[in-house]
Symmetry: C2
Subunit: 417 residues, 2 copies
Amino acid sequence: MTVDLVKMGQAAKKASYELGQLSTDEKNQALLKMAEALQDKAAEIMEANALDLDQAKKADLKASFVDRLVLDEGRIEGMAAGLRQIAGLEDPIGQVDRAWVNYAGLEISQRRVPLGVIGIIYEARPNVTVDATGLCFKAGNAVMLRGGKEALRTNIKLVEILRSVLTKLGINPDAVQILTETSHELANEFMALTGYLDVLIPRGSARLIKAVVANAKVPVIETGAGNCHIYVDATADLEMAAAIVYNAKVQRPSVCNATEKLLVHQDVAAEFLPLLAAKLAQASVELRGDEQACQILGSSCKAATAADWDTEYNDYILAIKVVSSLDQAIDHINAHNTKHSEAIITNDYNNSQAFLDRIDAAAVYVNASTRFTDGGEFGFGAEIGISTQKLHARGPMGLRELTSTKYVIRGTGQVRK
Amino acid sequence: MTVDLVKMGQAAKKASYELGQLSTDEKNQALLKMAEALQDKAAEIMEANALDLDQAKKADLKASFVDRLVLDEGRIEGMAAGLRQIAGLEDPIGQVDRAWVNYAGLEISQRRVPLGVIGIIYEARPNVTVDATGLCFKAGNAVMLRGGKEALRTNIKLVEILRSVLTKLGINPDAVQILTETSHELANEFMALTGYLDVLIPRGSARLIKAVVANAKVPVIETGAGNCHIYVDATADLEMAAAIVYNAKVQRPSVCNATEKLLVHQDVAAEFLPLLAAKLAQASVELRGDEQACQILGSSCKAATAADWDTEYNDYILAIKVVSSLDQAIDHINAHNTKHSEAIITNDYNNSQAFLDRIDAAAVYVNASTRFTDGGEFGFGAEIGISTQKLHARGPMGLRELTSTKYVIRGTGQVRK
């Protein structure tokens, strides 16, 4: 292999120590200059991108795949705008989470510091190259990028531009590095780069994430999979429930916070399901139901199989189950969800509290669409992904989630007794 | 294998959901009852312990090993006192880290929740069985324990007692489970129990921790290794420096926050080292120095080898290096430390700030002993270990570090646009 990962890792570590000492202003200036450079060099980027596109077309890749690969002026502007937005976000580095004086008179403070070196593994989406770099950089971290092979030429050009901006500003360009080879062997070596990678974040399909979680030797933040549920309680405002389910299913079905499953209380199923089905029919949503749901809906509903309850469709499909109680709904969700986002539609106060308390998920909702689980919607400004694990970060991850802490302790000669 | 880990994991998961709903009072009552039960059943515990001790003696295990295995009335009282102390600590569960209303009028709050199911892998120290269970329980987590084989009978008895208290109080006893087999195959299966174990915390020797980090498929919190440094700057108060180095080296050399390395500025080395050596001689500390240090100290100093700079002695040994600048000290520490605890002794303000800013470690000190890196000393009341990784928790881990968060979102029918 021509790529020396250990050497890259050492360079990244060194750069990360330097990045950690930059002021917020210095980082913001760099981000704005990166944005400018991307727009200035749009022609070069599109030239590199054309080579990737040629190859993708020759390889007869799916149109939707090729579409995500394309960079035109508009998309390059979009990437630049993303960097400018990140420049405008609050810098978490140096913030103090808590500070106190201990019994011995030591001043102890817990200070936000960068994680260090962050690895990103992603698919053939060049925007991730810029977006992930911007977020990691703003939080003072070096990045090592491993993108999909189909976008390699585009990614190399993007990284070249970003690095040249850093060099011009006197910042160590090894803050941004890309693996210029995309073999599986090298990817596996990358996932085992302990001592250099402080964390690895996979961004992309469930398959990619699963592979990374299974193979990585370095700490991973698991993102993405979303088998999200909405439970319509007996006391729900059924118009509101239909509007929320419609939004959560149809507004953007391909994403992880889209709802995949509907649970409905038996007392309102007969009234609610036909109302909902009529609405979902406008978007040609396929319905798969348990026995009771199919009885109510008739031919517009297919029979769901056991596998349906654990499947994230990312498509215009909704599986429906009729339940006899809130308890049954909660137990079903905790048994089948991916710990992402879950909602109850209800007007019963106790039920709303029980649902919020007892559902095990990154985000639990009362009377709102699961589609709000997103860094932008939450007000974080941007996100690197949505964590579905419980360690370190849970839910939408913004800049703060790309940091760690250290204890800073000032004494006057204290020794331990 | 007679132990069915998946079944245990399912039971633990179920218990964890129930534990997460207990009030602080219910958890505290249970901890106090556990303490009482340990003291009431001291005779039974010592009986089981005697069987372990017999076997350990027959196996001709080291005296220090056997000593850590022994449970007498005093130690059982100590374990009970530990549980009572945990009952007195603030409960992190239900605390809200932040709360706000987003642009769409959703009330969003980030609430502390238990991690879920915590696995603990440890050596033949029965006190860990009780201590780890107490901390995990108070933070609303179920535990699955895998202790050293030499303490198996003692551990089984302890867990039996703790579980019977839970049963009597109407709490699901599967909140506390122990692996009753200690084969390596089962340990490996345990470390790969994804879907049930939310996190695995190894407690014990560097070798154990390394093995767990290398083999685990579930998220691990790495604890423990401490190659800690003290840097004595040119402007240090040398009496203070000697007192701090003495304390950090000698007060308890076997622990991870003991100092292993001394860096000293060349301008004060000739004055400081003999002063320090005389003091350390009182505790028969072996000195290993670089060329300059050995020149100053003469025959009381052995030549250090390259390996010394990366070795955690956990013993009465100190390696000494003379440096020409603060930068050299910082670079040496960042290259050789285990990211645990590092101190500068100085009276130079700028140097103190540079050291705090640039050293990469869980705890960085000015003018104090590294021995303070400890949950008790920090004021956390108790600790489950000291994390040397950057994800999730860094430094002493108290109850708060045994929790995760979830976003609780209350709406009035909001859908995403």
